[in-house]
């Protein structure tokens, strides 16, 4: 079957897929623990009977029983003849269909993850799948289905394995949990964008959930679908009742969802776990002759994806910011790092730009003398593991681009493709193979056309070539091509004309690389900002710039409001709107108090210095500002208005102020400020100490003299210190039940030796009753530890 024939078949009406086979084979006696594919080959009539029933029930497509017949899965059963097993399985399905249904070669997960997560490389997985593909082809399949996939990268590997082996149509379905994501965090829309651009002929979902949840998925992705959509739901959710797996939805209820599926826009419909020929017969009757609802399409945006999200670029949306900083040009440190093969700065630049608002990251590995292919690929691998925004691959090397695109687990943007012969002949086919979007740069082998009308001719020429590879106007961004204003002041206006034409006449989204405009001029920020506002007023869709340029970012956000792209000014207000929070707690004319309240550790020392310069005495700052502030913070924490990070930030601010003020206080005041002496220790055998350290910080803030003995502290050391230092309180922490017994031993020892110190305990393993049992006081958290310590001292004093 050709891809064209597949499209034509689907366009005629709903295609019915088969239902479950695994669960039916179990009912026919297939034992657990065996290799199902091997068992079926040994018991061929079992699968032939089931599949015949599905054909009789109206299934248009049968899936071969080769779900786990890939090299890596078969290896678990010490089976090596991958091609032979798949060939024979395909033949069984052909026998069952007897020409009445198409046979789809079924491919599914390997049960492994590939690097950097698992033990196999991407190419090893592609090659493993290719062996299965060849076997299924030898068995005479009509098309392929890649199903029940959890890892988008594994689907890509399987899809490429089929694409690089034959031209048959490919259906892909992933399995999404109830929350709407695969377990690796890919949502259905991201999967659709990635897989339809990579060449899947139909995309959808199967397994995991029942029909109701799957209809919601189909509804959500339909507006963005350029290919037919597939759904193969389970018969509800599995339950183990009396030792048998039971799916809780009967055929009658299941079939009732058919119309909703069709309304949502599904094109191919079948059943997964728990379904039987009865279910498929019902679906067939309900859906036969009907056509999927198409609904409103949102396919004019340029949509990119990572493994975990999509980004839409459109002249109707706020201008998309493509971060330009991961580029070694003019960055000595980054150049050095890339030469050494480390990725620390790449990671740092990526995180910083995302934090500043970048929605796409441009990645460039152009350092003279390095292996660009290897470096760009490593950069992409590194970023793909933790960055959720899509990447823009900035290279003119076909080899580097192909290598990076191959391992990139989403739909990337290529920067860029022009009308230069080398780009059209070498990069365009690569972009098309991997379904990448691209930036269309309007220059050719004669250089950069000065006039907009000449650039337009180049754009049309590139588009003509791109169309031959299946590209549409929503698959690329037209670059306005920015030339420096210092050498030609007309240049900026020519760029505006290209952007305007592209928006109003050509119908494609646009991008500019911003910083070139100001090259050679002083105060470049203002030129950049003004130029960006001009371009945005012409309908610019995306800009490549440094998001750390705050002035330009402010102009961008403001222009998004003024051009109506930031609907309801939501983004602007979110960024610059009135701050909420606990501002009502702040006191007029009390900057030191407010610094503690807000936890502004980096500012507080300067504020204290200013107050001292204004004539405020150190003792006044402590008694009238710092202590009341930290007390109020404690209250806010108790009321849960503050949570732990706020409490600690305030404590850190207080500590910074006290460090500065302590030498300025008179000795007697310093002594007076000390409430008592406390040992702090995590008991022997316990290695967790962050909770204890927070308690120490708080106690110091409240004027206690803290002797922190650290973690995993011997009983003898605690007792000796208590005696030598004449401490008032021994504060002990334990996280584990196995170590809390140490507390009892210390309490007993203190009592036996007549040491006057009180015992205060805390930590996840202990509670009030345990404290009472060993004769200690208990504090649930750091703030209560301070209050309890104060109480213990009051009790001692009285």
């Amino acid at each position: 079957m050709t891809k064209e024939q597949f499209r034509e078949m689907v366009s005629k009406g709903i295609i019915i897929l088969d239902g479950a086979t695994g669960t039916l084979l179990q009912e026919q006696g297939m034992p657990t623990g065996v290799c199902p594919e091997r068992w079926v080959l040994d018991n061929p009539h079992s699968i032939i009977n089931i599949q015949k029933q599905y054909v009789d029930s109206g299934a248009d497509i049968l899936y071969t029983f080769s779900f786990g017949a890939n090299e890596l899965k078969l290896k678990e059963f010490n089976l090596e003849d991958v091609k032979g097993i798949n060939r024979e399985l395909a033949k069984l399905s052909r026998q069952a269909s007897n020409g009445r249904a198409l046979v789809a070669g079924d491919i599914s997960m390997t049960g492994q993850l590939m690097e950097p997560f698992g033990m196999y490389t991407f190419e090893e997985v592609v090659n493993a799948y290719k062996k299965q593909v060849i076997g299924l082809l030898e068995g005479g399949v009509d098309l392929f289905v890649i199903e029940t996939m959890m890892d988008i990268q594994e689907v890509r590997a399987a899809l490429l394995a089929v694409k690089e082996t034959c031209d048959l149509p490919i259906i892909t379905t992933m399995t999404f949990e109830r929350g709407g994501h695969t377990i690796n965090g890919t949502d259905p829309l991201t999967a659709l964008i990635t897989l339809q651009s990579l060449g899947a002929d139909a995309v959808g979902c199967n397994c995991s959930t029942g029909p109701k949840e799957m209809i919601e998925i189909i509804e959500k992705i339909k507006p963005y679908a350029k290919v037919p959509l597939v759904a193969k739901p389970n018969a509800g959710m599995p339950k183990l009742i009396d030792g048998k797996t039971v799916f809780d939805m009967g055929a009658t209820e299941f079939i009732q969802y058919a119309d909703e599926f069709i309304k949502a826009g599904v094109n191919l419909l079948g059943g997964c776990c728990g379904t039987t020929p009865e279910y498929i017969l019902g679906l067939s009757k309900a859906a036969r002759g009907k056509k999927a609802s198409e609904g409103e399409k949102k396919t004019n945006d340029v949509i990119l994806s990572s493994s975990r999200r999509i980004v839409s670029i459109s002249n109707q949306l706020p201008t998309c910011l493509i971060g330009e900083r991961i580029n070694p040009t003019g960055k000595k440190k980054l150049r050095q790092e890339l030469k050494e093969g480390t990725m620390d700065l790449v990671t740092e630049y990526a995180m910083a730009q995302i934090d500043e608002g970048a929605l796409v990251l441009d990645v460039n590995a152009g350092v003279p003398g390095i292996d660009e292919t290897k470096t760009l690929t490593e950069m992409v691998k590194t970023l793909s593991t933790f960055v959720t925004v899509p990447l823009c691959l900035d290279s003119s090397s076909p080899e580097a681009l192909e290598s990076a695109l191959r391992v990139y687990p989403g739909r990337a943007l290529i920067n860029s493709i022009s009308a230069e012969k080398s780009k059209i002949e070498k990069i365009l086919p690569i972009a098309a193979k991997y379904g990448a979007a691209f930036i269309l740069l309007p220059l050719d082998d004669n250089g950069v056309p000065e006039k907009a009308e000449d650039r337009i001719k180049v754009i049309e020429s590139v588009y003509k070539n791109a169309k031959e590879y299946g590209y549409t106007k929503s698959d690329f961004l037209v670059d306005g091509l920015v030339m420096t204003a210092a050498s030609n002041q007309e240049a900026s206006l020519e760029t505006m004309k290209v952007i305007n034409w592209s928006n109003k006449e050509f119908g494609s989204n646009t991008v500019i690389g911003l910083s070139n405009i100001s090259f050679g001029l002083p105060e470049r920020t203002w030129i950049n900002a003004a130029f960006l506002a001009m371009a945005m007023s012409q309908g610019l869709s995306a800009v490549i710039m440094n998001p750390a340029s705050h002035e330009t970012m402010r102009i961008k956000r403001a222009t998004d409001v003024l051009t109506g792209k930031d609907k309801g000014s939501i983004h602007y207000i979110k960024t610059y709107g009135k701050k909420s929070g606990v501002t009502q707690e702040r006191q007029q004319g009390a900057p030191v108090f407010n610094c503690v309240l807000d936890g502004r550790r980096n500012e507080i020392v300067d504020v204290v210095k200013q107050e001292l310069a204004n004539g405020v005495l150190p003792v006044e700052l402590v008694d009238n500002h710092l202590v009341p502030a930290i007390t109020r913070v404690g209250e806010l924490y108790q009321e849960k208005t503050y949570f732990l990070p706020q409490l600690i930030q305030s404590a850190e601010a207080m500590e910074a102020a006290m460090s500065h003020l302590a030498p300025l206080l008179e000795d007697d005041k310093r002594q007076k400020n000390i409430k008592g002496k406390i040992i702090l220790a995590t008991v022997k055998g316990d290695i967790h100490d962050i909770g204890k350290n927070i308690v120490g910080l708080m106690l110091r803030n409240y004027g206690f003299d803290v002797i922190d003995l650290g973690k995993d502290v011997e009983l003898e050391e605690i007792i000796k210190t208590a005696v030598d230092e004449k401490v008032d309180i021994i504060a002990l922490s334990a996280l584990m039940t196995t170590t809390m017994e140490q507390m009892q031993q210390i309490a007993d020892k203190v009592k036996a030796e007549g040491i006057g110190a009180k015992i205060l305990i805390g930590g996840a393993a202990v509670d009030e009753s345990y404290a009472t049992q060993i004769g200690a006081a208990y504090a649930k958290d750091a703030y209560l530890a301070v209050k309890k310590a104060e109480e213990l001292l009051m009790f001692t004093d009285s």
Binding site: M150, N184, T347, S580, F643, I690, I694
Partner: protein, 210 residues
């Protein structure tokens, strides 16, 4: 020990809201200014990058013949826990699992505490705990999907040493059977695992009765 399987550097599907909850955030009460929240979110993302979550597991057969005693029949290992025993009544296999976030995040938490960055350390610590736990959630999701086609399912919950009446000393069984030493994990005399952000658990696999 060839049946031990692993995954490196898993991006675990952790819930940011659970990290906030660990830090004492209450949706209805706690007030935080957007900039401060942005800062905490940024630290959580940094912690995510520093956590190199490796997941190690093996599936092994099981016998629950004696009340409260769970025997891992392939390895002659026994654990005692009435509540786990109850959970595993319908299981004839179990998955032993471990997730470890590695030493990088711990070193950074310690460095921050020593250099006066306690707030950031506390956020990193809570994030690392949640991210590591989410590693086991991820693995259970992965196993569930692998098993469903065979008509098998996982028990509705997992147990960790130190949870309920499954004593912490059972950590040694996990340490041995998952070869955790090969993953840079150590066990103390008190059965604690180092690096600190390392968790282990057992979950039952239930099969249809033939």
């Amino acid at each position: 020990m060839s049946d031990i399987k692993y995954f490196n550097n898993i991006v675990t599907p952790y819930k940011r809201s659970l990290i906030y909850t660990r830090l004492g955030f209450e949706k209805t009460n706690t007030q935080i200014e957007p900039e401060k929240r942005k800062q905490i979110d940024k630290w959580i993302t940094e912690a995510e990058v520093l956590c190199k979550v490796n997941i190690i597991y093996r599936i092994t057969s099981l016998s629950v013949a004696h009340k409260g005693r769970i025997v891992l029949t392939d390895h002659s290992e026994t654990m005692v826990s009435k509540s786990l025993w109850g959970l595993l009544q319908n299981s004839n296999e179990v998955a032993l699992m471990a997730a470890t976030a590695g030493i990088g995040i711990i070193d950074e938490i310690n460095r921050l505490q020593e250099s006066g960055g306690m707030t950031k350390a506390v956020v990193y610590d809570a994030a690392a705990s949640e991210i590591t736990d989410a590693g086991l959630d991820w693995l259970m999701g992965f196993l569930k999907q692998q098993l469903i086609r065979m008509g098998k399912s996982l028990t509705h919950m997992r147990y960790s040493p130190g949870y309920g009446d499954l004593e912490l000393c059972n950590q040694e069984v996990f340490f041995r059977l998952l070869n955790l030493e090969d993953w840079g994990v150590k066990i103390t005399k008190g059965y604690m695992l180092i690096p600190e952000k390392t968790v282990t658990a057992i979950v039952g696999i239930e099969s249809p009765k033939s």
